[in-house]
Amino acid sequence: MTTSTFVDEKPTQNLEPFKGVKKVPHEEYYTSGHRTCQGCESAQIMKLMAKAAGPRTIVLGSTGCMYVANTSYYSTPWGVPWMHTQLGSSGSAALGAAAAFRVQMRKGAMKDEPINVIAFCGDGGGADMGLGAISATMCHPDYNLLILMYDNESYANTDIQISGASPYGVNTSFSTPGKVKRIMNHRWKKNMAPLIAVGHPTVKYVSTISTSYPLQAMNSVRKALSVGGPTFIHCLNPCPKGWDFDPVLSFQLGELAVNTGIFPLYEIENGKLKMYGKSKDIVNGRFKRLPVRDYLLKQGRFAHFIEEDIEYFQSKIDETWDKWLVPGIIPLQKDVEAE
């Protein structure tokens, strides 16, 4: 007898969304013991992610701030099993763990139950080195897993160097303005969530989240763990040390990134795009985007910008909303002449 299946799906947990801040459970699975900086939003998403996922979870953390600063020998903050994985390996780590659980459950060597497999990576591990492995993993529809990219827009653990997800013109230790060149980083930030969604059509859930909207961030994680197959979340995390701002502003900068239209919030579930929060209002014309100046000038990493740099930055953001086929998300433009 031959069997031929299209996708060999395995049931996941059905994690209902938290219906309001007051309904969020008190249990923490990411607690004290980490050594992250004051105002670190990357640590914040670790906490929210673990809380949203709950105890039947394993977390695989690739090298970066959330390894080196986060998880020290004898003082781990993790209340769920956690394992270090190499910088470029978040995709492979999640795939290996999910495969191991699946086969052992099938063979009766392990209790058959849904286990959440989450691998996280920074923007260096996700948008740069680990992109190939994440892409490969996103093509395996029969394994349930989540890859969460916490994005502090630099290699923030190794002295703040530019990554593929750093913003244009940013001052980092690898792109310091000098006497002749004011702008050393000419790259535009990699558009990670759409890259995963568009490039991997069988992925059922891709979203962008921000720690400034914690309830929504947690519910996004819960949905990603419930829809089945590989899923991807991109979280923007303001970084006081790397972005050079007062830690008290972390939360506000997360909001400003959304309200200026620099980092739109949305989810793509089974091919259906849903914008939410202020991003939705921007699309619907109910909210006028704030000038990017409000966001850029609060951060020391853009202190070298002169007026024309700010104007250029603004024009690029305007383009994403005014010219892109799917505003803020898909950088294809209609061929006006052909019409």
Binding site: Y73, V80, S92, G96, A109, G132, A133
Partner: protein, 413 residues
């Protein structure tokens, strides 16, 4: 450790169930994976190892093997996937060749300290550049200092048997480190021979289920694996891997004894095979399939009255130094044939010659001269006339005539 004993009836039954097949070295290892009930296999194409993955793919498609068979997008991911699967309790198999093995180097480096008993096949291949499919041992040897166990086999039968032994050794809680079985590209990976395939029920008895115990990554066992340790603890953690190498020889000896007892096939000394060494004045030493031309030459030379023997090294890590030194000090001179190079090393010799000299220095009182030969690189054949000339050189060294310590063979000048 308790020795496995089987009732007589079961032994008879197992003999009946034993099959014989004409298969390649790669296919032999694929069959061993099936017999070992491997849980997760990751593949990525590179010659010549990749035929093992073609066979496994077919076994899975035919329903003969139940595993997660994942084709990765590169060797780095290939080894990272099985690394994590192993930490989550799965028995795993993986492999590579040449620069593919090097592409996985980061994953290869971290696996021993993570105590991952993955079993891998290396289809030995010359490293680029320039491109060459043929055998060279430098690929597998690149991990020799990192805590891997490394073994070289020279026949399809030995490949199958060693793969079963490998799981038993690697998954022994005293060991718990990755293990690579090296098979010479083409000469073994693609050459067919008659192989006795043991009965599945016997393999099941020989090979207990992989039990990761309190190192298992699972929601029921809340642990943090490999947190940042720095100078506070790294040295102690390295010392744990050192302790593996202290007991590795004993564990390997135990497992070979159990193998012999279970399946009835004898390998004698697990660490090296001696061929016509009795009464020999000099010996040659090497690893892998060079054993075929060397053995032919040794037989020929013996007929001519030249007292030469051959020692084939099976286990390179652990390197059974004292035993090897004790074996070799019986002879007046030793010629080591390296199918590898170690540029800039002492005496500019190959890796094996350097290791043998080092072992002799500390563990032998007589220290016969060790002449290093480098040959067969990139898959070039080591011929019988080559071996005859090498033997003449070793005889001259035995008579006290100074010989160059490293000589290249089969080289066009």
């Amino acid at each position: 450790m308790a020795t496995l004993t089987l009732p007589v009836e079961e032994k008879k039954k197992s003999k009946i169930n034993e099959q014989e097949a004409l298969i390649t070295g790669a296919e032999a290892i694929a069959i061993a994976c099936k017999l070992a009930n491997v849980d997760v296999v990751t593949a990525y194409p590179i010659r010549p190892y990749d035929t093992v993955m073609q066979y496994i793919s077919q076994l899975v498609a035919d329903g003969e093997m139940d595993c997660e068979y994942i084709v990765a997008e590169g060797e780095h991911s290939q080894f990272e996937i099985v690394k994590h699967a192993s930490v989550c309790g799965a028995r795993v198999f993986c492999g590579s060749s040449g620069v593919g093995w090097m592409y996985a180097m980061e994953a290869l480096t971290v696996s021993p300290a993570l105590r991952v008993p993955m079993v891998c096949m290396v289809g030995n291949r010359a490293l680029d550049d320039p491109g060459a499919f043929g055998v060279e041992h430098n690929d597998a040897l690149a991990v020799r200092d990192l805590g891997w166990l490394l073994t070289w086999v020279d026949s399809a039968q030995e490949a199958l048997d060693t793969a079963l032994i490998a799981y038993r050794v690697a998954e022994d809680r005293r060991i718990f480190v990755p293990l690579a079985i090296s098979c010479d590209g083409a000469f073994l990976t693609h050459s067919q021979a008659l192989v006795k395939i043991p009965a599945a029920e016997l393999v099941k008895k020989f090979l207990p289920a992989y039990n990761r115990g309190d190192l298992l990554l699972h929601p029921d066992n809340v642990i943090s694996v490999a947190p940042q340790a720095n100078e506070d603890w790294v040295m102690e953690i390295r010392r744990q891997n050192y302790k593996v190498t202290e007991v590795a020889c004993d564990v390997i000896r135990e497992v070979y004894a159990e193998f012999e007892h279970t399946f009835g096939r004898k390998y004698g000394n697990p660490f090296f095979e001696e061929y016509m060494t009795e009464g020999a004045d000099v010996v040659l030493l090497g690893m892998g399939t060079m054993s075929t031309p060397v053995k032919v030459a040794v037989r020929k030379l013996r007929e001519e009255g030249k007292k030469v023997g051959f020692v084939r090294l099976r286990w390179f890590r652990p390197f059974a130094g004292p035993e090897i030194a004790k074996c070799l000090e019986r002879f007046k001179a030793v010629g080591v044939i390296d199918r590898d190079f170690s540029f800039g090393s002492p005496d500019l010799s190959g890796v094996v010659a350097t290791e043998v000299r080092s072992a002799m220095y500390s563990s032998s009182s007589t220290r016969p001269p060790v002449i290093g030969f480098i040959g067969g690189l990139g898959g070039r054949e080591i011929t019988v006339p080559d071996v005859e000339t090498m033997t003449d050189i070793v005889f001259r060294a035995a008579k006290g005539k100074a010989q160059p310590l490293t000589q290249w063979f089969g080289l066009r000048e």
